[in-house]
């Protein structure tokens, strides 16, 4: 007989309850494997999201034993030290059903934060080279690999308290844009970062960076925005 682990899974939307499943333990099993196992063998009506299973797409995030995590690269052995798993949808986003949340507010805020690139050149112009070693490019590189998983958004208490706060991921994106020398509207983008609910709302205590599964630091990016805004204020440009 194989060992099993009790898994408490949130069922329903805002109104709902935990349902417990016993799931067979396997070597190198991820939390996503557990959820898939439940859906395949015990209850096909269980709703959840995933796509790549290898930490690239950012769709599988859930709350695992109280902590927001990407589930496809979270090993059960590492997070279930107490012999139980409790799975809930991500915090700070509307619950749709079971483990799936509505990501709309998260992506809307990327738009509201002004995270859209605008170039100066057309396809007929020569390519505008970016020096990989330049300071701005290094700053952008350090923040660019975001997989839009919303783990940071779920970890951030300011998002919880202030529904207008743009959140760590959107502001992190803005920071990469501010550091892109090809971007045509740098000062507009910077102005947007200063909007109510922008970088000034962040308390810099770093829950986002401690939870980001790919090791980005939105805290550092937001600090960069605050600095850039301070300099433009001192330079009389705000």
């Amino acid at each position: 007989m194989t060992d099993t682990i009790p898994v408490r899974v949130w069922r329903g939307g805002d109104a709902g309850a935990f349902q417990t499943f016993d799931v067979a333990l396997r070597d190198n099993q991820t939390v996503l494997d557990i959820v898939t196992d439940i859906q395949r063998r015990q209850d096909p009506t269980l709703s959840y999201r995933f796509a790549c299973r290898v930490g690239v797409c950012g769709s599988c995030a859930m709350t695992v034993n109280g902590v927001p995590r990407w589930t496809c690269r979270t090993h059960v052995a590492k997070v279930a030290a107490e012999g139980v798993l409790t799975l809930e949808p991500l915090r700070n986003l509307p619950r749709l059903k079971d483990l799936a949340v509505d990501m709309t507010p998260f992506f809307d805020k990327w738009q509201k934060a002004g995270g859209t690139f605008e170039g100066r050149k057309t396809r007929d112009d020569a390519v505008d080279p970016v020096k990989p070693g330049s300071r701005a490019r290094k700053a952008a590189d350090a923040a660019i690999e975001c997989i839009n998983c919303a783990v940071c958004y779920a970890a951030c208490d300011v998002v919880d308290w202030d529904p207008d706060y743009l959140g760590p991921a959107a502001l992190n994106r803005v920071w990469t844009l501010v550091n892109d020398r090809r971007h045509a509207r740098r000062s507009d983008t910077l102005d947007k970062a200063a909007q109510s609910g922008g970088c000034g709302s962040c308390h810099s205590q770093g829950a986002c960076m401690r939870h980001c599964p790919v090791g980005l630091s939105p805290t550092e990016s937001i600090a960069g925005l605050k600095r850039a805004l301070l300099f433009s204020l001192l330079g009389g440009r705000l």
Binding site: G66, P68, R91, H203, S204, A207, T219, E220
Partner: protein, 116 residues
């Protein structure tokens, strides 16, 4: 109980900063009222001195000092990590938190010992 995603020194710093900030906002006006009393004459000074000899008032004085120090240190920590570029490990200045707390307690206590 502190929720799991908050279990970190940095959350302690956040709580410390907020509680000390609110504490200061409440205590400082009282402190200034007492100082203003002192300015208004010798009789008032005597009664204020008698008042400050009370152990509860002494404890409050100690707390006020600790709060000021803790708020100052946590505030400087945030200003450092927001205004200085981040380089390498330790850039988040989480290493400041526990020593900062200990320093605040030590400064408050030493100052009180000097006063007593």
């Amino acid at each position: 109980m502190i929720a799991r995603h908050r279990r970190d020194r940095a959350y302690l710093a956040f709580l410390g900063h907020r509680i000390s900030g609110i504490g200061l906002a409440v205590f400082l006006p009282l402190h200034f009222i007492v100082l203003a009393e002192v300015l208004s004459g010798e009789a008032a000074l005597d009664s204020v001195l008698a008042f400050t000899a009370h152990p509860v008032v002494k404890a409050m004085e100690w707390l006020l000092l600790v709060l000021v120090c803790a708020h100052l240190i946590f505030g400087l920590r945030l200003l450092m990590l927001e205004l200085r570029p981040w380089r390498g490990r330790g850039a988040d200045r989480r290493g400041w938190i526990l020593p900062g707390l200990i320093l605040a307690l030590a400064v408050g206590t030493l100052a009180m010992l000097g006063v007593v």
